[in-house]
């Protein structure tokens, strides 16, 4: 009895879970594996379209005699590289209209012209003509003929499914792609973006956690950058930072803080001198990192605030009695209480920043030294249209991510559950 009950429970559970699991599998897990397949193939964007036979129909009168017409089909292979085999053609004629001198490849039966065109090479392009005549000598309506679309079919290989593999993509990723610089840029962006967001998050949480007026409003406002659409925010920032007409540069020039406008998003390096030491700063990358911090510190803020509000007030009161200074209170009570959440936030944000695409894409498009791995996937796959190469970069990302995750679960995986 209980056995059949538990079996029923299992069956119910699978029915409930299965639709969601299948969908996630198809859209999220399958592509990750498909990437492995594509990354070993020499394939470009133009190859992924399955070749189709096409025909454009043109109707012409031959003479004064309206009962006779010429139909021209402009036949072509849509693919520039692939052959289509065994092309079948079919078109329909109105009642009482029939073809004369029909091509031997075709035959006419019950108002239908059916042809077998055989194989079409890549770039195949030819005209095919037939002459039709009305059996009763009446005028043929061109429009009716024209409105009937021919149907074509043929067999072609799907270049995605062939089994010729190559290691070329990975060679290119590691040797011809400035791989070291790419990796370094990604790590700078990820690391400083994460650390910055957490530091600002701690500061903001510390502020809002005090008894100030309008605390809830402040919390709401602080989350604006996080909930706003990235497209709108990125373009607003681009406009603010623009060297020619941007507000920030105009203000700085107006108050004589700088002499020349600075192209914050378009300049790779800027030379700074501090205490006599000159060094070069990655300017565009720094700006992008600041945008990243601006947009994501609210998340860190929200979590740290939630943690801060859970710290028992009695701890602070006890410290007060012991005569602790504000700094001591922070380092000895607050900080130990928030280290767990900070370490979790660090890993989560690290992984997410590592994968960040939209923000950089919208701000700089990956120019001026802001090319990170995700940007490179897009550049290779869609700008250079080398899909195989783009997939290879994706695989590199997945590999790095997996190693981060292993580290993450080793280090703080157990803590993640209590949170």
């Amino acid at each position: 009895m209980s056995d059949s009950l538990s079996r029923l429970e299992k069956r119910t559970a699978y029915t409930l879970v299965l639709p969601a699991v299948l969908l996630v599998f198809a859209i999220v897990l399958f592509p990750i594996f498909a990437n492995v397949w594509i990354s070993f193939k020499d394939i470009e964007l133009k190859d992924i379209r399955i070749p189709e036979p096409r025909a454009k129909k043109i109707v012409k009168s031959i003479s004064e005699n309206q009962s006779e017409l010429k139909i021209i089909y402009k036949l072509r292979n849509s693919s520039l590289i692939q052959e289509i085999r065994n092309v079948q053609f079919q078109d329909k004629l109105p009642t009482n209209v029939s073809p004369i001198n029909l091509d031997p490849r075709c035959n006419f039966q019950s108002k239908k012209i059916v042809c077998n065109f055989g194989n079409w090479q890549a770039k195949y392009r030819k005209n095919f003509e037939i002459t039709v005549v009305n059996n009763k000598g009446e005028i043929i309506d061109k429009k009716i003929i024209k409105s009937q679309k021919p149907i074509l079919s043929g067999k072609a290989d799907n270049p995605l499914l062939t089994t010729n593999f190559t290691l070329e993509n990975f060679k290119k990723v590691f040797y011809e792609n400035n791989f070291v610089e790419l990796l370094l840029t990604t790590f700078y962006f990820t690391f400083f973006g994460t650390v910055g967001a957490i530091i600002f998050g701690i500061l903001a949480a510390q502020l809002v956690n005090q008894n100030i007026q309008g605390r809830t409003y402040m919390r709401g406002i602080l989350l604006f950058p996080y909930v706003g659409p990235v497209v709108a925010l990125a373009y607003t920032w681009t406009l603010l930072l623009d060297p020619n007409s941007g507000t920030l540069n105009a203000l700085l020039v107006n108050f004589n803080i700088i002499e020349q406008p600075i192209n914050l998003l378009g300049q790779k390096y800027i030379t700074m001198s501090i205490l006599g030491f000159e060094f070069k700063l990655r300017l565009a990358l720094t700006t992008v990192i600041f945008f990243e911090i601006w947009r994501y510190f609210p998340l860190a803020f929200l979590f740290i605030l939630a943690r801060l509000q859970a710290i028992p007030q009695s701890l602070y009161e006890a410290a007060q009695v012991d005569g602790a200074s504000p700094i001591q209170k922070f380092t000895h009570i607050t900080l130990p209480q928030i280290t767990a959440i900070i370490s979790i936030l660090f890993m989560i944000r690290f992984i997410w920043n590592f994968n960040k695409f939209e923000d950089i894409f919208l701000l700089t498009g990956g120019a001026s030294g802001t090319r990170t791995l995700p940007i490179n996937v897009y550049q290779q796959g869609f700008a250079v249209s080398d899909i195989g190469m783009g997939s290879a970069v994706s695989i590199v990302i997945v590999m790095l991510l997996l190693s981060f995750m292993i580290i993450y679960f080793r280090l703080i995986g157990k803590r993640a559950n209590e949170f």
């Binding site: 992924i48 939209e358 994706s394």
Partner: protein, 397 residues
């Protein structure tokens, strides 16, 4: 008398006042006032005088009279040291000083002798400064976005710093950018598409997620633990690595440029978060209530529909709002999958507009305002639900 703490007090408080007054000056510059100098030094010096006077007067006169008269004197001095400026500007200076001196209330000669007073002063003013700083840094871009959309191309070229809104213009003139993007660039259609995709995603996600979350929360089955850990791992996986395979498959299936294709992808990527958030809430519902349902002869469908859903409406609402915001803000997939302006979402349409150098920026900003306003309204209105949703679905954006 402790000179060290007095000095720290004077310097920190004056720095604070100088910063706030500079922000005020910058904001006024953006209203078309012409200032070319921040004049930090003289303002800092008179701020020190103000703080000094404040502590030395102490309790000798009524607090209100004290702050009013001090602020008045300060404003006059400020006026003297600065370029000619309209009355509203000086009034602003007066109000800021009033606010500042009011905040100084707890400091006096006596209080400066307390333990750790210098740290307390620094903490106090950092808090105040931090609030002003964060509010300014966060709201400023939103402010620029909004006011730019009301300007004209010529006005922006004449003075790129003048963002004042001319209320004497007719409404049609003021909202010209909005009319243009609706009439010429079809934004009405994009709003419809974005809403359809987002609302559709919410509905489909909930349809899939509620049963799955119920099973994970309540039923025992093989692979349950594996499922709940893989949910966590799946949301760590980034959209960018899915893009190329999905693009190729969708191209071959003819799902690109279709709202349906977008809907599937959005649903699949938000499902893990939704399940994760919902199962946590379902677990908190007492099991006895369900047992009563089972006694009444309800099957799982009845239990979910009649017991679980009504009891977890707040959680479902927060998941729905959260998923809506993700779908509304989503950009990467709409960039990859949509090429034809007929099927653009709002985000994609704005990005498409920005690619055209001919399009003036106030149109771009008007579009940005349109795409931002709904999310901000939803967020402000349902903040309570959303904050709990955000904290639960921490990892996804």
């Amino acid at each position: 008398m402790n000179f060290k703490s007095l000095a720290i007090f004077l310097i920190i408080s004056s720095l604070f006042l100088t910063c706030i007054l500079s922000i005020w000056k910058i904001m006024s510059t953006l209203q078309g006032l012409i200032f070319t100098n921040l004049n930090v030094t003289p303002i800092f010096l008179i701020s020190i005088l103000l703080s000094l006077a404040f502590v030395f007067i102490g309790n000798k006169i009524n607090h209100l009279i004290k702050i009013f008269s001090l602020s008045f004197i300060f404003s006059i001095l400020y006026f003297y040291f600065n370029e000619a400026s309209p009355y509203w500007y000086i009034l602003g200076v007066f109000l800021i000083t009033l606010f500042f001196t009011n905040k100084l209330k707890k400091y006096s000669i006596q209080s400066l002798k307390e333990d750790f007073i210098s740290e307390k002063i620094i903490f106090d003013f950092i808090t105040l400064f931090g609030i002003v700083f964060f509010a300014f840094v966060i709201l400023f871009p939103f402010y620029i976005m909004l006011v730019t959309s009301f300007k004209t191309q010529i006005a922006l070229l004449v003075n790129p710093l003048d963002f004042s809104i001319d209320f004497t213009k007719s409404l049609a003139e003021l909202f010209k950018s909005y009319f243009v993007i609706f009439e010429t660039y079809n934004f009405g259609r994009y709003i419809l598409i974005s809403s359809a995709v987002s609302i559709g995603t919410v509905i489909v996600t909930l349809l899939f997620a509620i049963p799955a979350a119920y099973a994970v929360a309540r039923l025992n089955f093989f692979g349950k633990n594996f499922l709940s850990t893989s949910i966590l791992i799946i949301y760590m996986f980034p959209a960018i690595v899915l893009v190329i395979p999905l693009y190729t498959v969708f191209s071959q299936l003819g799902l690109r440029n279709s709202i349906f294709g977008l809907l599937i992808v959005y649903t699949a990527t938000t499902l893990p978060v939704a399940i994760y958030m919902l199962q946590g809430y379902f677990k908190s519902i007492p099991k006895e209530i369900e047992d009563a349902g089972i006694m009444d002869g309800q099957n799982w469908f009845g239990i979910i529909l009649k017991i679980i859903i009504p009891l977890s409406l707040p959680a479902i609402a927060s998941v729905a709002l959260y998923v809506f915001m993700i779908a509304w803000n989503e950009f990467l997939f709409s960039l990859m999958f949509l090429d034809s302006p007929k099927s653009f979402t709002l985000s994609r349409a704005i990005q498409y507009l920005s690619g055209d150098a001919e399009i003036p920026r106030q149109y771009l900003m008007a579009g940005s305002v349109i795409v931002t306003l709904p999310v901000l309204f939803i967020f402000i209105y349902f903040e309570k639900y959303l904050v709990s949703g955000l904290t639960a679905g921490s990892v996804k954006e």
